[in-house]
Symmetry: C2
Subunit: 307 residues, 2 copies
């Protein structure tokens, strides 16, 4: 049976990496999967137990080389697909470590939420014989770790791929890969991606945390919080390290989005202070209409008629 | 069978009013329920069809008096319970209208999200022989209208009651009423209530709308928005009139909460701009810990042991 890839190395066996292993396995897209994680870490053990990976190492370069590993004495072919699934700040060290071990034509991708900085790291640290194509599957949850992993995490999830203009074939293979996992792919350059996600993902994350910290100034109020407050701030319970890294690696776009938000807040503040009910109603109506359009867009498209 | 109230008048047959009628009925807390709404309005018809009310009028004073109504030729006793369930801005006109018709000892309450302004209106417009006790059941959804009503809407919902110091007995009856409907009551003075809900309800509503309007500045980003964005902004689809009224009637507390939020946002902006990962992580960790404490508090309390 033909498989698109022979040997995939997943670096980082958390929620995203372990789900990816399960999904690649289910779709039979790769023969061998090696998971990289800290020696003796419970994440790697869980990923192995769940069948998301076949072999494991704490040495990313050795894993990529295909050499025998502790507990996996048989050598396998060098990795032709490497997927970085750790927090973003670990990417430079991992890229430097695997660089000498990368086979000719190996494709490196990632699942990070920021793309410009990652593309810059790849240009600086990966060798010319390998191809980097960044990807960002917009899946996940406030949960983390391999226990929360599931094989259909990427099914129907939007997945942005940042084309590598110097490697159109590698780009196409990464697009095919995500589509084979059921993701809805879109090809968008890194800088545009970073502005998009700042607005629709990173800023909402920030404001959820800010809302909780604002409410915490009135401790007695927290006891009264209805389900709506907990729903609105759900993402404030996400992984701290991952999010600190995101905020730092997408700094410029996030600061711009935060400033836009602050301008909207100042305008609404003025309308409330002035008792301007028409301006308040317009702000709320604008938001409701935009949101309803978004909901409409998510509805399945009916099949075309016979006419 | 003894019922706590003989004749309840529900003014406004939307989601909250109709749900209240269904709940009062299910709990057998009142003999007769009259619903007040615009003549021929589909809301009133739905509330009648669903059995939430027995009789209906577009004239609040006549409904309260117990006089015969179109379609309900029998007179009933004057209302001993009146519940205002319209948008807040209609309260003054309704209070003025029903004032002459209120029986001695009648209790007026409401389900509005703001309490200081409502208490001031009651003091100004209701006669001395009636007792006003404000209440705020924290239930509802982004849906509205009597079709969305359900008899268990208030079950387990927090419900804040603002005691009327001049009418302790009426206050106790309103507390009993909400407890009989399954709500978890708390007695809090109006000004404190308004600061609490500004932080945990009104501010999150504002920021949801602001997030949507900020994202709308990058229209292409909206097409990519994952479920998280729609979840976070769910309340931005709520009823516009109701929310405009809330923002205007709780102006001072909301402006204060918005300013606190803006201060938190400015501090986080500085931390991101300075690349201060420790400060960013602390902000996110604080929020996560507060939220987790809130979730713990919502877990059912285990029964006490035998010891």
């Amino acid at each position: 049976m033909h498989r698109p890839f022979e040997h995939a190395v997943i670096v980082g066996c958390g929620l995203l990496g372990t789900s990816l292993g399960l999904a690649l396995r289910n779709a039979a897209l790769v023969r061998t999967i090696t998971g990289v994680g800290r020696r003796g870490s419970p994440s790697v053990k869980t990923a192995l137990d769940r069948g998301a990976i076949d072999r494991t190492s704490d040495d990313a370069a050795r894993a990529v080389s295909g050499a025998p590993l502790d507990g996996s004495p048989a050598a396998v072919s060098p990795a032709d697909l490497i997927i970085l699934c750790t927090p973003l700040r670990q990417f430079p060290a991992i890229m430097k470590a695997i660089a000498p071990a990368l086979a000719n034509g190996a494709i490196v991708t990632d699942v990070g939420s920021v793309k410009s900085q990652v593309a810059q790291w790849a240009a600086a640290f990966l060798p010319a014989q390998a191809h980097f194509v960044g990807s960002h599957p917009m899946a996940g949850s406030e949960q983390s770790g391999p226990d929360a992993a599931k094989p259909d995490l990427y099914q129907n999830a939007p997945c942005i791929i940042c084309p590598n203009p110097a490697a159109p074939q590698a780009t196409a293979r990464i697009v095919d890969l995500w589509q084979a996992l059921g993701a809805r792919t879109a090809e968008i350059p890194p800088d545009l991606h970073d502005h998009f996600v700042a607005a629709i993902s990173h800023l909402p994350h920030l404001t959820a945390a800010l809302l909780v910290n604002t409410a915490a100034e009135t401790p007695a109020a927290l006891a009264l919080a209805a389900g709506g407050f907990l729903d609105t701030t759900r993402i404030a319970s996400s992984d701290i390290t991952m999010w600190t890294d995101i905020l730092l690696t997408n700094k410029d776009a996030i600061l711009q989005a935060l400033d836009q938000f602050t301008n909207h807040a100042a305008a609404l503040r003025n309308a409330i202070a002035a008792g301007d009910s028409a301006a308040i109603a317009k702000t709320l109506t604008d938001a409701r209409q935009v949101r309803e359009k978004m909901l409409d867009r998510r509805k399945p498209v009916p099949p075309p008629g016979d006419a």
